[in-house]
């Protein structure tokens, strides 16, 4: 093996070690566990073939950006488009243990997220779920850091407003529909 090849291989192995887990989580969130392996494989394959183009300082952002493109291709092209989309909208097919209240809460929060615009959803997912910092997210979304901060601020505000509105709606609905058992002769429930 040539020294350059050995160095490239070592660099890629380090890249793989550092980012395999988070890219797998990222792909699982987007397309579900079944298809996540394909996305991760496709992303690392491109990374390996274009290793020379990877910006050393922003490898993480580059990988996320590439993974998004691989996912977009996957969603566009496959006959399972609808199934994948459904999974993505539902936040993948990873399930929490069966704690009903917790699951209800998670479903409610994810449903609120899914109601936001795709741009709002994307910036919130990248920052709050993927843990990217502002600079990395700006690279992934190809905007300036300032623009990213503005987008993030607005997306957070809209998310909070909608979630709280949903909470209030649920509370009032529960009041209207919850059965009341009032003993005879009593004046209050």
């Amino acid at each position: 093996m040539e020294p350059d090849d050995a160095a490239a291989r070592r660099r890629f192995e380090e890249l793989f070690e550092a980012h395999y887990a988070e890219l797998t989580r990222f792909a699982t969130r987007r397309v579900g566990a079944d298809a996540a392996g394909d996305i991760v494989a496709g992303t690392f394959l491109i990374a390996w073939r274009r290793l020379g183009e990877l910006p050393p300082d922003h490898a993480r952002a580059w990988l996320y950006s590439t993974a998004r493109q691989v996912i977009a291709n996957e969603l566009r092209g496959r006959t399972r488009l609808q199934r994948l989309t459904d999974k993505a909208a539902a936040g993948g097919d990873v399930h929490a243990p069966d704690h009903s209240a917790q699951v209800d809460e998670q479903m409610r929060v994810r449903a609120v997220l899914a109601e936001l615009s795709p741009a709002d959803q994307e910036v919130l997912r990248l920052i709050e779920w993927e843990g990217l910092d502002v600079a990395e997210a700006a690279l992934v979304l190809r905007c300036t850091r300032t623009a990213l901060k503005v987008r993030l601020h607005r997306a957070r505000r809209r998310f909070a407003q909608r979630l709280l509105a949903t909470d209030e709606q649920d509370t009032s609905t529960a009041r209207r529909t919850r059965p009341s058992i009032v003993p005879q002769g009593s004046t209050s429930p």
Binding site: F16, R25, L45, R50, G52, R76, T79, G91, A96, L163
Partner: protein, 209 residues
């Protein structure tokens, strides 16, 4: 707002999944498969882009498919030591391509097999890589340059894919269909190197005689 963001983070669907381990056998197998694929030199990519830009508009029309009288099990995927991947399937039995495509992705084939649909249900033209137009006839040299070759055997379609010959941003879309013709059933295969994966592939018109 902090509370709502806390709730958003707690709703992360990945929190419930086991921590992916880059050193487990599955991840290591993936790593080895990737490392077995040749890298693309920046110069080579540049040339290819240039050719594509020049020839881009001229190619899409020549949609000629490859016909053969039809044959006889689901599918097989075999990866060879030289990096090529052999796929075989019976078009008349392959109803659901998802599992086959997942297998192909795991093998690093960069190939998606699609069941073609009648042309009136799929009107978007293929975004083909101009470097790989459809060929009605081909010399051995041309065939050697292509990332795919295939033949029809009595048991079905046998495809050999060379992923290293598929340009980095491309995918091989391999369409197939069965058509009932007056003179019997016909298997139709359309291998297309595409820059964007199509959502569907149309059964091509019958060739004029």
């Amino acid at each position: 707002m902090n509370d709502t963001l806390g709730r958003l983070r707690a709703a992360d669907p990945a929190l419930a999944m086991p921590e992916p381990d880059p050193r487990d056998s599955q991840a290591q197998a993936l790593l080895e498969r990737v490392l077995a694929v040749p890298q693309v030199s920046p110069g080579r990519r540049g040339r290819r882009r240039l050719v594509a830009a020049v020839a881009g508009a001229t190619v899409a029309a020549a949609a000629t498919a490859f016909f053969v009288a039809g044959p006889a099990a689901a599918y097989t995927v075999d990866k060879h030591a030289d990096g090529s991947i052999a796929v075989s399937f019976r078009a008349d039995r392959l109803k659901d391509t998802d599992r086959l495509n997942a297998e192909l992705a795991r093998a690093g084939a960069r190939t998606v097999v699609m069941r073609m649909v009648p042309a009136d249900r799929c009107t978007t033209p293929l975004d083909m890589d101009p470097m790989f137009p459809f060929l009605t006839t081909a010399t051995p040299e041309q065939l050697n340059r292509y990332p795919v070759s295939y033949r029809f055997q009595d048991t079905g379609v046998v495809i050999t894919v060379r992923p290293d010959k598929i340009p980095a941003a491309d995918t091989l879309a391999f369409g197939y269909a069965i058509r009932d013709d007056p003179d019997g059933r016909t298997t139709i295969a359309v291998p297309a190197v595409v820059r964007t994966l199509p959502s569907c592939m149309a059964i091509p018109n019958r060739p004029r005689r």
